[in-house]
Symmetry: C2
Amino acid sequence: MDQHGDIKVSERQRAILSIIVEQYVATARPVASEQIVNNYNLNVSSATIRNDMADLERAGLILQPHTSAGRIPSDRGYRYFVTNLMNPTALSHDEQRTIRHQFHQIEMDAEEWVRLAASVLARTVHSAAVATAPRSVAVRLKHFELIAISDTRILLVLVGDDGSVTQQILTVGESQDQGEMSILSNRLNAAIAGKTANEISAWLSDETNMKPLSDLAPIILKTLAGMLARLERPETSSMFHEGLGHILEQPEFRHPERIQQIIELFEQGSVWSNIIPSILNSEGVQVIIGEEGSPEGIASCSVVLARYGMEDKMTGVLGVIGPLRMPYSRSVSTVSYMSQLLSDLLQRAYSPDKRDA
Amino acid sequence: MDQHGDIKVSERQRAILSIIVEQYVATARPVASEQIVNNYNLNVSSATIRNDMADLERAGLILQPHTSAGRIPSDRGYRYFVTNLMNPTALSHDEQRTIRHQFHQIEMDAEEWVRLAASVLARTVHSAAVATAPRSVAVRLKHFELIAISDTRILLVLVGDDGSVTQQILTVGESQDQGEMSILSNRLNAAIAGKTANEISAWLSDETNMKPLSDLAPIILKTLAGMLARLERPETSSMFHEGLGHILEQPEFRHPERIQQIIELFEQGSVWSNIIPSILNSEGVQVIIGEEGSPEGIASCSVVLARYGMEDKMTGVLGVIGPLRMPYSRSVSTVSYMSQLLSDLLQRAYSPDKRDA
DNA sequence: TGTTAGCACTCTCTATACATGAGTGCTAGA
DNA sequence: TCTAGCACTCATGTATAGAGAGTGCTAACA
């Protein structure tokens, strides 16, 4: 039943499909043959368009909501458009400048940048945007610090070699003073700097290493290893969402149940856990249309995603989510530009080689 | 025109108002006189109820959506109910245990706790919840660390005396090695530990202090002061939202425009900037019904808020937001319990005096 | 004075029928 | 291969009627 894929589509039919996608994206109403004749110079009559439309429908690229309505693109139609028909043009220099400008007004912090990127993305394409916090694949311990909070509590602050910072409180039995801890801290730092979570665990299990150290050392090292490990694993909890309001203006989300769906998608994000890893391993902008991506999750939504950051370091995913009826060309351009920009910023701030103007 | 406030309401009329609020909250349908007779033992006829209803309406406590409909509470009616009629009972021990249990499974981190609190709150009252990240009023510098990221970039990690941690990257002209920086760091730490943002600024402007220090000292101190200052100011950006999905199940949010409104409220949060400071300065649970709170923001929404944390230290606001037709009693109980629980947790983890079992 | 039964009145909601208009598919001819 | 013409289909809008819910009011009653 799905063998309409091999039907040939003529050049003019492709043009018509293109027009239908553009018109429908712009107006949200089914596109009629007459409209195409009036607004575009194809130099054929509406009847001819109708014949071509019938072919396109046989090919599974467009469909009719009901008998006496115009045509709208099908999922496959959108896919065909995205793959073969559209040509995304770069953002105008003006737009690029406006966007870049916003990044110069903010304190330099990777996470803030990503948050801002999502926000700018949402505004620029007038749609919802998502972004994951930047993560590195194998974080090495750059430095850690022990700070006595009270008699029995120690604050561990850990700095990764990628500039990431986490903290955790540790409650210990006997009371400690800051002096002892500084000494311990210095010795441990010297011993384990540059190690990954796994390497610390290994080092920790070697009896000979632990002998000369304080009783506190094992618990501290174990906690450090745990913190490092948590830095590596990208958590879905650290996703930024922005611009939900925009997307709800679209007429496809007029029905409350649909809104419900998309909000769940935003809030729980279990769907993302399948998509994001695959994006992290791909290059360029990826477009997922409707149910293509997941078994049953972002049905009737499209997402345009790209990776940002450096290879395996300070990397993450950002993109746009919207209705199937989405301005794909513009979305792809914008996502592409934003991921590029963000990568540049991170590279300049966090890469070991210096490259300042 | 608003002088119906002084009309007396009888004991039975108060009972009727109470019933109307409860019924309407439960069913979302206007409450008819007949229903009240059938479901409650007031030992009067429906006609009598109708007379009382007319009085309550004259008093501005209830109203009719249209002529031949039952009654629903007005804003003033809800307010009267909350102030005079309802008596919130504490959560059952079972519920308390279930909630507490969830906080023992998570790594100890203040911000995570608050996030979890919002999430638990949303689930427990089946509504949307908000919470602000914990902040302290006057943060003192506990310790800071300088870490060379690359030749010309330094990572500043700052630890406040309340356990809060922030980081920032600093780009400097000439290249630095970790050795020099450790020395500088030690000297500066000794000099300015325990100071607030303002005190650091003051100390910085005193020429005699700066003389013997490296060229880097001023820019570092200035940055530190800025970071400390940012720790104090509660940012609306660091608000946690949860359970938007629940709230949209309510019939009052069946209309897309209403959804739009509430999502904007969630996303931009400019409305909160007026409310939150006043909550921070108050004790107990505060209920804001409809437009009582803000000129024109959370219209047709009610919020139940409370402060959590210690006085001036690791403090913030958490609460519930929902339609006017909200189970106020249960909301108040739950918000009250959650704020208490969170305060206890923070107290135990971050307060200087030790109190471990 | 407070309470009750009875009843007319009002308003919402639903279903039905009907007209309108948009847009197509098809046929026959160029 | 294209086009003009036309019948057909279906969503949308409007008018109307009937049913049902719930009240307000009046008059009688304790």
